[in-house]
Amino acid sequence: MSGRMIVDKAVKVVLFASAIISILIVLAIGFFIFRESLDAWAKIGISEMLFKSVWRPGQDQYGILAMIVGSVSVTFGAILMGVPLALGCAIFLAEIAPAGVQSIVRPAVQLLAGIPSVVYGLFGLVILVPMIRKLNVPGNSGFGLLASSIVLAVMILPTIASIAEDAIRAVPENYRQGSLALGATKWQTITKVVLPAGKSGIIAAIILGIGRALGETMAMIMVIGNSVIMPKPLTANPLTFFLSQARTLTGNIAVEINYATGLHANALFATGVVLFALIMIINASARWIITHDQRSSEKAR
């Protein structure tokens, strides 16, 4: 066998090994977390953990429902604020901004993705929390769902904006031309043709943003307050729900794992399993939406 044939074979083996190793790492992490959590599921009980909201490790009470609600609420808040902003960015970059403006705005948006999450936490702690504290509502500490939703909204902005921008750019140019040639305005073309045609990619972008939001830890610990309480409105006004403190699934693990032993540690691993499962469901649904839509549009062609 000649030298370059040997190199060719060797490269193939090395690349295959790299792929296998990354799969093994995912499996190993999943297996490890799941094994460590087994005792918790067995001794505490699945429904006791998932559907009870009292978390008192000292008294062996390990309900994580409050944390599930905390994570879901802060993610919901972040989506509510972050998605319109991110889609606005994506539409502006893909459809409206001239090349010169794009070359300034796009790196600026992408820079947001590079800022360490602890810096976002600092920003929330020093700027947002004191501002929110000024709202005159009994029990309002400034820490809580509102501050953390705002921080998270900015953190997921670059993820959603860049994937949604790609989805919008992937819409065939001849759809735009067809619409404009029928006397539609640019904005009508965007809302009635381009966005519907890029729908699946845009939804995937939002779902990946949700996945990112669910997994965020450090910035959340710094601004959400971390009280293990079921978030609820502070007054009769339902909007004060967002002034409530909360704790996220991720925060629960990060705050307590250093001193947890025995069943308490097992319960934290079980928290990790729930998080792992949530994020896998989210990513799988993103993948399903993308491939499903591609298949149906290929069939049409």
């Binding site: 759809y175 031309q177 029928l182 006397g183 539609a184 009508q188 549009s297």
Partner: protein, 255 residues
């Protein structure tokens, strides 16, 4: 040709510093089919797109001279309103990924028509005019992308008719279709010319001969700026052209 629908006067077009069209003077008659022919890169598609100002969408495009629609300067009109009067059919069928009904109703809807009954009327009338009604009347909810290529192109013609234009521009409308679908489109063009002014770009000499009443021959010299060499009735262009270059092109000596 006394009833001129579209007129250009010393019309030139530049992409940045590159001149794509040079001093074009033409009078396109009303309710006739006018074919634009010429070798690739001679600017005939660019010229076609001047009539509905689709060239406006390309950054760096600049024009000189004037283009008149019914005697009025096109470049002083609102491009959105202009495009409702001057429809366009593209080379590759481009129905929206929407139902057949929504494809046709798109144009009327963007101008604000919401009445379902009126929309249904327009959809039926447009599909009948485009000779597609009998094939799709039972499946108006089906995606336009599920139709065959020829049906898609007739859908696009119906879609253009729905906004009631007076002019229809066609940019090689049969270039991506099989011979049978092509013949159907040509029949349709012939029928539509009773009520519409049609300007069609084509690479196919036989097609120009079959469908058009008038033919304009475009050519480009070493400056690469497209020029109008000759414009006359189609039978004159094909049997007795006055310019040697036209004759060479028609007889297939180049291009």
């Amino acid at each position: 040709m006394n009833d001129s629908k579209l007129v250009t006067i010393n019309y030139s077009l530049y992409y940045g510093n590159f001149q794509a069209l040079k001093d074009i003077n033409i009078k396109i008659p009303e309710n006739k089919v006018t074919a634009l022919i010429g070798p690739s890169g001679c600017g005939k598609s660019t010229f076609l797109r001047s009539f509905n100002r689709m060239n406006d969408l390309i950054p760096g495009v600049r024009t000189e001279g004037s283009v008149l629609l019914d005697g009025e300067d096109l470049f002083k009109m609102d491009p959105v309103a202009l495009r409702q009067n001057v429809g366009m059919v593209f080379q590759k069928p481009n129905p929206f990924p929407k139902s057949i009904f929504d494809n046709i109703a798109y144009g009327p809807r963007v101008t604000g028509l919401k009445d379902r009954h009126k929309l249904e009327e327009i959809v039926e009338r447009s599909l009948r005019s485009a000779a597609l009604w009998d094939e799709v009347k039972d499946s108006l909810g089906k995606s336009g992308l599920e139709l065959s290529g020829g049906q898609q192109q007739r859908l696009c013609i119906a879609r253009a008719l729905a906004v009631e234009p007076t002019v229809i521009l066609m940019d090689e409308p049969a270039a991506s279709l099989d011979p049978i679908a092509t013949l159907r489109i040509e029949d349709l063009i012939h029928k539509l010319s009773e009520n519409y002014t049609i300007v069609i770009v084509t690479h196919n000499m036989q097609q120009a001969g079959r469908v058009s009443d008038y033919t304009a021959f475009f050519y480009t010299d070493e400056t690469r700026a497209g020029q109008l060499v000759e414009f006359d009735e189609t039978k004159t262009i094909f049997t007795n052209p006055s310019d040697q270059r036209t004759e060479d092109y028609i007889t297939g000596r180049f291009g």
